[in-house]
């Protein structure tokens, strides 16, 4: 397998992991919205309510930065990172 193919395989792997986490917090948990709202969440808000107004949103922010960092590592590993003067 060429270097480029390996790079793409890892990139795709990272995509699936990132999208899996994204799926859980944008869609997955809301399948159980009613049940989850009976439980107390952070700062005392009902749990589903907290996810819709802070939790999921904040997780997305962190997820993107995490993804960006991991993707940079993959690019560097295979020598595909941009040169500084690019």
């Amino acid at each position: 397998m060429s270097k480029q193919e390996q790079h793409w395989e890892k990139t795709r792997g990272l995509l699936f992991v990132t999208l899996a986490i994204w799926f859980v917090f944008s869609i997955g948990i809301f399948l159980f919205g009613a049940e989850m709202n009976e439980v107390g969440g952070p700062f005392g808000y009902p749990l589903t309510y907290w996810f819709t107004c802070q939790g999921s949103l904040g997780i997305f922010v962190i997820l993107i930065f995490w993804f960006a960092g991991r993707q940079e590592k993959i690019d560097e590993e295979f020598g595909f990172a941009e040169r500084e003067d690019d």
């Binding site: 944008s26 993804f67 941009e82």
Partner: protein, 599 residues
């Protein structure tokens, strides 16, 4: 000099922020010294528009690279702020807290959708399109798939989606300008339009970038300051985001106590158009999982297909910076979106809790009608009470409010000085203007670059290209304003449609262009054309009384459109021959950050 400007950005915008806070303080002093509310409103709106116009003029350019992609040198954090302003429209600013106030959980799917979409932007598209090196979104489609037809279809989808969106924004600038400057709406729309064009016409993307950063600073101050202030004023806690659990629970109790009494159709006929009462629980889950998820999903895929957002990531210096910049964008958006539910909570509690001095439910109707702020907002057609059951006391189901009033009127209700209301007007104006600018520029750039330069006159000189781009900017702006002046849809209705149109026609052609090498021209044509047409047809069908299927409503028709687009694209691609070696190589090239851009 240019490099200098980029290096000095933190300082420049630091001084700007300080200057704006100084201006707020001067206005506050002016208010104490007897400046009228109207004069303060005019000062806020006029002063901020003047600053944006000044930035627009300073950013004027005669170079194509600067006009289309701001010279590709916008640093990540500043691009994040510009994207956040580009993204948060008049609807986000003025109507979102209102939507949460009235509809609760079901509406909050939009919060999840309008933020979750950025994960798709960061992972599936932005870095790859940045590497591609295109000027516009149709530029990517046209080059990746080849042929003028693909390019043209992409321009059509882009125009349909963005134009739907832009009329709503011009409408919002008109609404705010008409209230703040006290002029009729039909004229205010054009005042809004001229302000919008002042930012973008001379500098194109460069002008829009630096005004959007300035607009973000105004709008975030204008949104957060009242939320924190009101929370302190009514004793709910100094940091509302972490401290409103008791207030949320209290609203739940009051809802139990009052009950949601349904009004008869005859009673509702007396309520002015556009006003609503509280009929849904505040924090309880009041929508089926599918209603919530389908709306969130449609908004997420729409986010990843809207060209005015995508093109902001063409302006970063590198692929790496494009990825990070998406994270910063969402962070800056998060600051406002996480505050909207808090504002809705504070607003609702201060109105319905009879133990608070501001509470009006349970007071006598005559007493409420004598309150100053009630009279003001009643006159502005944003508040209404009526004694349906004739007991002389105001009940929960007898109080009606416009969605905009939550943001616009709450400061006044909570007893904040008028200077805050002026600030809020300036913030709403900034939000609507920045989005309108991004959208009008997206359309004008697509037509000038992809239709005029790439298809009609490929030999045109830069000066001529930019003249065409600027003329188009003005024409599209005026067309949008003319339609906005007719007031067809509410602000939010047409905003949501824009997402559905964009995802119907563009989501899969964009994503598969990067992630599926086998996708070819015929597939892309089928995907864009059939996706847009079927989405449109579904919308018309449901609007005309069609029952729809799978619970897909007129707000989520993009789910149907994009499903058709995906199937059509895959089937047609597989039935026709694979793209040639040059195209395959181009895709390989897009997938790695290093090396020269593709175009």
């Amino acid at each position: 000099m240019k490099g200098n400007f980029i290096d000095n950005l933190p300082k420049v915008y630091g001084i700007y922020t300080g200057g704006f806070i100084g201006f707020i303080i001067i206005m506050a002093i002016g208010e104490q010294m007897g400046m009228t509310a109207k004069a303060i409103g005019i000062c806020f709106v006029a002063f901020t528009i003047f600053i944006y116009a000044l930035i627009g003029w300073l950013s004027r350019t005669a170079q194509a690279d600067a006009y289309y992609v701001a010279g590709r040198q916008v640093p990540t954090v500043f691009n994040g702020m510009a994207t956040a302003a580009d993204w948060m429209s008049g609807a986000s600013f003025v109507a979102m807290a209102g939507g949460i106030y009235f509809k609760g959980y079901g509406y909050m799917a939009l919060l999840v959708g309008w933020t979750g979409g950025y994960v798709l932007v960061a992972t599936l598209l932005a870095p790859y399109l940045r590497k591609f090196g295109c000027y516009t979104v149709p530029d990517f489609i046209g080059t990746r798939y080849g042929g003028n037809l693909t390019r043209l279809l992409a321009v059509i989808v882009l125009t349909v989606a963005s134009f739907t969106y832009v009329t709503a924004q011009i409408n919002a600038t008109g609404t705010i300008a008409s209230v703040a400057l006290d002029i009729p709406f039909q004229y205010a729309v054009y005042v809004g339009l001229v302000s919008i064009l002042l930012c973008s016409m001379l500098g194109g993307m460069r002008g829009v970038t630096w005004t959007q950063v300035a607009q973000y600073i105004v709008l975030i101050i204008a949104y957060l300051l009242p939320v924190f202030w009101i929370s302190n004023e009514i004793g709910a806690g100094f940091f509302p985001h972490f401290m409103l659990a008791d207030e949320v629970a209290r609203i739940g109790e009051l809802e139990q106590q009052y009950g949601f009494v349904k009004n008869s159709a005859a009673d509702l006929a007396n309520v002015p158009k556009g006003l609503a009462g509280i009929t849904k629980a505040h924090s309880a889950v009041n929508a089926t999982p599918w209603a919530f998820i389908s709306l969130a999903l449609a908004m997420m895929m729409g986010t990843a297909s809207l060209p005015h957002v995508m093109m902001r990531y063409f302006t970063t210096p590198s692929v790496k910076a494009a990825r990070k910049s998406v994270g910063w964008s969402l962070f800056f958006i998060f600051l406002l979106y996480s505050s909207a539910p808090m504002l809705a909570t504070l607003s609702k509690l201060s109105l319905i809790d009879p133990t608070l001095p501001t509470g009006i439910i349970g007071k006598s109707i005559a007493e409420v009608q004598a309150i100053d702020w009630y009279q003001n907002w009643n006159q502005a057609n944003l508040m209404f009470v009526s004694d349906f059951n004739g007991n002389g006391t105001l009940e929960l189901n007898e109080f009606f409010m416009g969605g905009k009033a939550v943001v616009l009127a709450t400061p006044e209700i909570a007893g904040l000085p008028y200077v805050i209301s002026g600030l809020v007007a300036a913030g709403g104006m900034a939000a609507a203007m920045s989005t309108a600018d991004g959208l009008i520029l997206a359309i004008a750039n697509a037509i000038s670059h992809d239709v005029y330069f790439k298809m009609i006159d490929p030999k045109a000189e830069t000066a001529k290209r930019l003249t065409v781009a600027r003329v188009l900017l003005v024409v599209i702006g005026f067309a949008g304003a003319t339609i906005a002046a007719m007031e067809i849809q509410g602000i939010l209705g047409s905003v949501i449609w824009a997402f559905d149109f964009a995802m119907s026609g563009l989501f899969f052609p964009l994503v598969l262009g990067v992630w599926w090498k086998r996708a070819n021209r015929e597939g892309a044509i089928a995907g864009m054309a059939l996706g847009l047409i079927s989405g449109f047809a579904y919308l018309i069908w449901v609007r005309n009384g069609g029952s729809g299927f799978l619970g897909i409503t007129q707000l989520t028709f993009g789910i149907f459109g994009s499903a058709v687009s995906l199937v059509a694209m895959v089937v047609v691609s597989l039935m026709t021959s694979a793209p040639n070696a040059a195209t395959q190589k181009m895709v390989d090239n897009v997938r790695v950050p290093s090396g020269r851009s593709v175009i």
